[in-house]
Each structure stands twice: as structure tokens, then as C-alpha cells.
Symmetry: D2
Subunit: 177 residues, 4 copies
């Protein structure tokens, strides 16, 4: 871990069976993202299946560290979490604890829950990196950015767009200075 | 109150000083919306200033009933709430209690907090009516609707678009059948 | 409603079937408490069965007003709530919203959930009135009061003991001055 | 870490300046507790000052691992937390996330917040070990145990009493079988 500002990175995205569409199409990307993040940062996810599981698997494959911030009583934790936080909150309310606890958020595809997490990160002034080309709300939200980088007129924090894992890492490094 | 399915209606939108732009430009609309809703439904808002205050003022001007679901300890309640719920939660987390407690949500303008409320309503399967032409996220979200009425591929509930208070009332009546 | 400081009163206590022991033994007391409170205050409860239901039934029998602050999605609301708040939180976390939203709390019997509510009220500086003789934690907590009226050394607010509904009303009136 | 059922242990107790009464009188005990727990378990605390800070200092002095579950935005984290969870919730509501996330809870002294945490642990069926002789609610609650070990008639889980750090460790080992 470098002595840098960004220490804890959250990853959000599609939930669901990782071996079914649309997640299986981005499975390699998620594993790679997990590996690269796992070498550099503590990785926080919502602790469940889908993108969360694949990224965490990647993190653990390189000996990294995963925190899962789970809804309700944490029953559906995947097997890759070093620390499981059981929030007692529903899916969306628990997302706010996830974004508050990290320094930056990376978004991969995703349905309504991911959309709420993108906005929650922005509302909590956490930089969001959209991993473009992964579909869902990660691509959809890019269409409504103000000045190409804000989610409202208050311009609370910047939303970044990356087209590869390498670009995600570059942005993380840049915002850590 | 009719014997209808929709009994409790939430109104979300811009917070801030009601006598400054952009809120003052839609002040008359908010008052009228409050009056019409106040004659038919219990009206729930986030209990604070901006659109919340103007709509609630309208509700009370016709003898209607307002519930304010407030963040933190409820210090910033406007003067029009009959019941004040002090949630102890931050601005956004408390929004989930607001949308869970109503049968439908009407959106008027709004910055990031309103965007989260629109998505929160949809995620909780509550019909959302966008009062178009009021700016902010109410208009912006319309651009990314799937099939013109959904907020993700799960098609959890319909998002409606109205261009006047009359149209809002018609939609509410229609979804109450 | 008098122009008094205490406007909203919370009632906490045993949950469970109101027609079984131990609740059935205090059913008349709960109904009477509800009637008397309903003539004077807005009554807030946890919105479910047991003491909550009996008190709310009493409130409604005199045309009073009930707010139910419910766990999860509010599925188990009793039939006497005028306003139902669906908190999305578990049984105990939702209790904090209940005590924050009222000016004073009356405790009737109760198991662990009631104990947490008594302490939650005190931690939030809300006066608690123990209706003694009703069993459970309402009587048990009386044994560990510091100086007969505090729940910790910070002496945040007073805990009162009443042995009848009349005494409860007197105390409420006294602390409203 | 042994392959045992108890992996994550929570420690609750007095907040406040660790170098002032009453905390300074039990400072050595807290450090020792931290050292012994740190060699065996992941240690979760509320992440702030007082007992939390002293125990975490002990944990880190032996190379152990600390998770701090903090209120609000986590501003007041002590310097010994490896993972900081920022819950956005008030002091007491965040305590529920702490107790839900661990396998057992150890209580040391404490005012009202600690009392709520003891009851929260019990309500969530987490075994509680009272470190007796440390004052506050840890000793006070012992006086109202039902059958010497339960906190209500539902007998959800056992409350244990230990008079030394060694005894705490023995109990943890026993309940891990």
C-alpha cells in the first residue's frame, strides 16, 4: 500500500449469477480489476454475488484484502470477504455505508441498485470512476453528466470515465496525489 | 379521501430557499400541487425547505394533512408538518423511509438528493410521476428511461411523465384503480 | 390538544398476541391508557401487536390520532394507525426513530425490545414514564435506576415511575410546563 | 486464528478521555484485554476513544487486527483501526451494526451507550461477556439478569460473567466449540 490518499476503493455493479448474461460477458474484466486493485488497495464491495463476487475473487487471488458491506444479517456473503459488515439495513440503505467508508468508487454495469450507489457516492463527495462499455447504469449515467463530469449543479465531486482497467488505475493514482 | 389504493403521496424536489432561483420560478406550481393533493391525499415530504415547504404550505391552505420525514433530529422542519418523523439518518438514507411510506411519488425539479429519491422510489416499486418542465433531475432522468418508462431492465414499476398538475392528478387516479 | 410542550407521546411495551398472557392481564389498562392519551396527545407506537395494538385501539375509540413506526416494510401494521411509517430498519433500529419523534415515552411491561426502547429514549433525552406493576423490563429497570431516576451517571433526563394511568397523566402534564 | 466458531469479537465500554477517571483506572486491563484478543481474534469496536481506543492499542501492539464501526462520517476514529466503517448513523444506531458483525461481545464498564450495546447484542443473539469489576452498566446489568444469565424471558442467548481477562478467554474458547 502506497502512502497515498486513496486507500480504500469500493467496487459496485451488477448483482446476480456471475455465470449468466450480462455478468459472464464481463467476468474476465472483473477478475482483472480485482487483481489490480487487490495489489494496491483495500477493496470494499456490497459483499454478495455478481460483480462483487468476481472482483473479490480477483482480489483474493493476489492476496489482497476484501471488506463486504452486506444488507440485513449478512447471510449472502460471498466466500472472499476478509471482513463482513452486517448492516441490518436493506439493499439500498446499506449502500450508503459502503460509499461513506471508501475513498473512491468504481462502477461496472449495474441495474437500479448500482445507479443508487453511483449517486450515493457523488452525494457523499466520493469520486466515481465509470468503467465504460460494461453496460447498465454505468454507461447510461454517462449520458446525463453535466459538463461531462458532474451529477448535479452543485458540482460536488468529479465523475470519471475509464475504458480499461489500466485507465481506472491511472485515474486512482491521479486523484491520490 | 376516496376509497382508493393511493392514500399517501410523497412529493420530492429542490431543497433551498423557496424565494430564490430555481425554486421561485416554480413556486406557484408547487403551491397549486399542494392544494390539489391536500384535498385528496395525505402528503409526505422530506419536511424541510424548498419544494417541500411550498407544497406543504399549499396542503395546509386547504386544510390537508402533511407528514415530514426529516433527517437527523428533525431540527429543520418547516412549519406545515402535522407529523414530524425524526429519523436520525442523513439526508439520503432518510429518503428511503419517505418513499417506503407512500403509495406514489411526485418529483419536481431537484438536485442529487431528488435523483436518489426518484431511484429509491423505483427500487421500492413505488410509481413515480415526473412533473416535467420543472428542471433538474426530474427532467434529466426522463432522458434515460428505458422504453420511456423504466429505470432498469427489471421493469419494477412504471415511471410516468406529467406536464401539469391536472395531469398528475389524472395519473394518480388512474393508478389507484 | 393543549398548547403544551408535550404533544407527541410514545408508548412502548410487550409485543405478541394481545389475548394471551402476559398481555391479556394488562389489556384493560392499555385500553384505558390509550383512551386518556388519545384525548390529549398524538400517540406514537411501534405500530404492531401487543401493547401497541391495545393502546392504539383505545386511542381510536375516542377519536384520537395514532402514528405507527414500523420495522421493515411495515407489513405487520395493526389496524389503528392513521399514519404508518415504514422504516426499512430492523425491530430495534426502528425504535430509535420512534423515540426521537416523540416528546415523552410511556413504558408498559416488555421484553428485550422494550428495554432497548427505554434506554434509547433516555439516550435521546426523552423523559420516560414507567407504568409500574406491568411486569417485564418496565419493572425490572426500576431496580437499577441511579438516584431513583437516572439511567447513567450523565443524568441526561429523568425517568419517572407511575402506578396508575392517572399518575401517568399527571406526570405528562407536569413535564409539559 | 484458530479454526473456531468465534472469529470476530466486539468490545464495548466507556467512551471518553482514556487518561481520566473512570477509564484510567481500568486502562491496564483494557490494554491487556486487547493484547490477548488481538492474538486470537479480529477485534471490532465502536472505533472511538475510551475503552475502544485502549483495547485497540493493545490489539495493535501485538500485531492484531482492528475494525472500527463509527457513527456519522467516521471523523473521530482512533489511530488503531485497520478498517474504518463509516455508518452515517448516530451513536446508538451504529452500535447495532457493530454487534451484528461479531460472534461475541465483551463489555467493560460503560454508560448508557454501553447498556444499549449489551441489550443490542442479546437481542441479536450474540453471547455477551461482562468483565465484572469494571463498573458502569457492565456491573449494573448483572443485577437484573434472569436466572443469572438472561436479559429477558425469551432466553435468546447466554450472558456470561468474567472476573479477569483469563476468564474472558476461557469463555470465548468454550463458546467456540
Amino acid at each position: 500500500m502506497n502512502a497515498q490518499k486513496v486507500k480504500n476503493v469500493g467496487v459496485i455493479g451488477y448483482s446476480g449469477n456471475p455465470y449468466e448474461t450480462p455478468i459472464k460477458e464481463i467476468a474476465e474484466l472483473c477478475l482483472k480489476l480485482g487483481e489490480e486493485l487487490g495489489r494496491r488497495y483495500h477493496v470494499f464491495t456490497g459483499g454478495r454475488d455478481g460483480v462483487m463476487e468476481l472482483v473479490s475473487k480477483g482480489v483474493k487471488s493476489v492476496g489482497g484484502f476484501c471488506v463486504g458491506v452486506l444488507p440485513w444479517e449478512g447471510e449472502d456473503s460471498n466466500e472472499y470477504n476478509d471482513v463482513v459488515i452486517k448492516t441490518g439495513l436493506d439493499f439500498q440503505m446499506r449502500s450508503f455505508i459502503l460509499v461513506k467508508s471508501v475513498d473512491a468508487v468504481i462502477s461496472v454495469g449495474g441495474e437500479i441498485g448500482t445507479a443508487i450507489e453511483i449517486l450515493a457516492a457523488y452525494a457523499n463527495k466520493k469520486p466515481v470512476i465509470l468503467l465504460r462499455g460494461t453496460g447498465g447504469w454505468t454507461d447510461r449515467i454517462a449520458d446525463v453528466l453535466i459538463d461531462g463530469k458532474y451529477l448535479d449543479n452543485r458540482k460536488l465531486v468529479e465523475v470519471y470515465q475509464a475504458w480499461s482497467v489500466e485507465e481506472v488505475l491511472e485515474i486512482l493514482e491521479r486523484i491520490s496525489k
